[in-house]
Subunit: 362 residues, 2 copies
């Protein structure tokens, strides 16, 4: 058996990534793109990272509109490895359905949920941390991976570490005192300086049945619906739309942490959620042939005179003269020019286009 | 007879306008484009301005590669109203050939030479000034129009006014003391403050034969060649390539001014040579619907959040967020992003592309 026996990977592949428009689109979201110029899409890189841990024990949960694209990018997946959501209902129904499907296949299944659109530059550390988390999950814990913070980021939630746990096979484990929301800069700086906080990357490792039991404590109806759908997929159409739209953090992780039932494995992963073009600018190295230019994708079509910018050339020549600190994203039908410190506002362009009825561009 | 009897317009339509790349291209130069969003090309606007003065007495001298495009934009021109140059040899051979052709058609012909790619926002003032210049030309003068400067521009040459002339029909006329080269800012400021200088827009009004006689004083061989070609166009192929590459300013205007044989009609024309994107930014009004945005062409495809820029959208959406003082020129195959104060360096991009052998983009 390949990887960790009885361990399954669940990849929720959702979200449209509007802050990465015009690369990321409604019909072609972030996870399908090679945003960092690595040569493969974020989804494919996620699969690559997980395959040594799970072999073919993998389940991708994605919107029905993206099923075909997911199968094209991951042709090695079997038919029942992709689950299509009729509509987006946030992470809890997506991961909960995966848990309900997996407990039918293997009552002892432990699942690890890892987003399809994050970057990890230290995959060995990732796999070591996951292995520890699986040990914790086998003992009935809801386990998470806590990312060692490299800066006082205000765009991520944090995990406050509690006491170290003494568990054979999970030497790094700590109790989780609490999950905290995205802080302001001052608070984030205090968190990072204290050494007691880790970034919450939304990675959860837990027994499939344990997860559903934790969920049932506050959302028993949802668990009933998810188990019904898992037993009879024809019920998806009528039950799915009625499911409460809620993130796994709020539905399960935060109440479980408050009850002292969450464990964390801290790890240095080189992790990033690639949330916007500022994040992408940090992730991609400056082009060796074009000083000052960070090229997303090939740089052959870029001419730079005395400029600094992050540039995605979309097949046409991009010439920059005397401009500083820009983000230039050129695609077939849309061009974005902004600055890293305004990258959060990109979603406003998508909102404007939607309001104008120009949804073909969103 | 339409316009001023015996007066002919010569339009040298040359120059590739590399500082206006990527709109202006080798195979589709500046004068063929509607750069200001006026609804017509610079060439067509030049014709419109001249037609009331000359009717169909017009001669366009252009590169053979552009003959067809010129005829398409000016379909009212007769066959012999367009003269094709086999290769660019600067303005003197072009205007000199026109003079040699015109003196054969009309020994008394006075010609006025006006570039195909300039903008004039006060056409009535222009026509009044030209009418005065024709009066001067009929008296044997080499006449020029001196543009009232509106700022201490360093990108233009200047004309120093001499004594007023007392000529019936040319009340504004002055002698020209000298033509001076593009000054530095300090010198330009002194010129403008003195009131004694006008911009040299390269507009010359002169008898066709007078011009050739002035030219013969220093370039007798060129005049022989030009008259030979005018008499037998089949000689173009062998004679044209041997002509000295020289501007009319150096070949005729400067020596004639030194000899006290040049007159000037000062005028306020709202003139600009549309030399680069900084010039274009000054010429085009800010978009009424998009604060901070100067749109070259339609603005429907521009979304601006808190930005200032001159934007030519080339058929795709252009979204700007939080950027200042940019020039964004988007075309089918090339995108330029620069700043008005770096606009002169655009030609370096064309040079780089040429050096890279990517002439399809130049």
């Amino acid at each position: 058996m390949t990887g960790i026996p009885g361990f399954w990977a669940v990849i929720p592949a959702g979200g449209s990534g509007t802050r990465l428009w015009p690369i990321s689109r409604r019909h072609s979201p972030k996870f399908l793109h090679d945003l960092t110029g690595s040569g493969q899409s974020l989804l494919r890189a996620t699969w690559d990272r997980l395959e040594p841990l799970v072999g073919d024990r993998i389940l991708v949960v994605t919107g029905v509109a993206h099923e075909d694209a997911v199968r094209r990018q991951l042709p090695m997946l079997g038919y029942d490895a992709v689950v299509g959501e009729p509509s987006p209902r946030d992470s809890m129904p997506a991961i909960g359905l995966a848990a309900a499907i997996l407990e039918r296949r293997d009552p002892e299944a432990v699942l690890g949920s890892f987003a399809a659109d994050h970057v990890i530059t230290e995959p060995d550390n990732f796999r070591r941390a996951v292995a520890e988390a699986v040990v914790l999950a086998r003992r009935g814990e809801l386990a998470t991976i806590g990312i060692d913070p490299t800066e006082p980021a205000t765009g991520f939630g944090y995990i406050r570490l509690g006491e170290p746990l003494v568990v054979a096979g999970a030497p790094s484990a700590h109790r989780v005192d609490e999950f905290v929301e995205k802080p302001d800069l001052e608070t984030a700086t205090r968190y990072v300086d204290s050494g007691e906080y880790r970034w919450n990357a939304g990675m959860f490792v837990v027994g499939a049945t344990t997860l559903l039991e934790l969920l049932a404590e506050n959302h028993a109806d949802m668990v009933d619906s998810l188990r019904t759908i898992a037993g009879d997929p024809r019920r998806m159409a009528d039950l799915w739309p009625s499911l409460h739209k809620i993130a796994i953090d709020h539905a399960v992780a935060e109440p479980a942490a408050a009850a002292g039932r969450v464990a964390v494995v801290p790890a240095a992963l080189g992790w990033d959620d690639v949330g916007d073009f500022a994040s992408l600018t940090r992730l991609v190295a400056e082009s060796s042939s074009l000083p000052g230019i960070t090229a997303i994708g090939p740089s052959d079509d870029i001419i730079s005179i005395d400029s600094t910018a992050t540039v995605a050339a979309g097949g046409r020549l991009v010439a920059l003269i005397g401009v500083e600190d820009l983000v230039v994203i050129d695609t077939q039908d849309a061009l974005l020019i902004t600055r890293p410190d305004r990258a959060q506002e990109v979603k406003q362009v998508v909102e404007t286009l939607t309001a104008q009825g120009r949804t073909e561009l969103t």
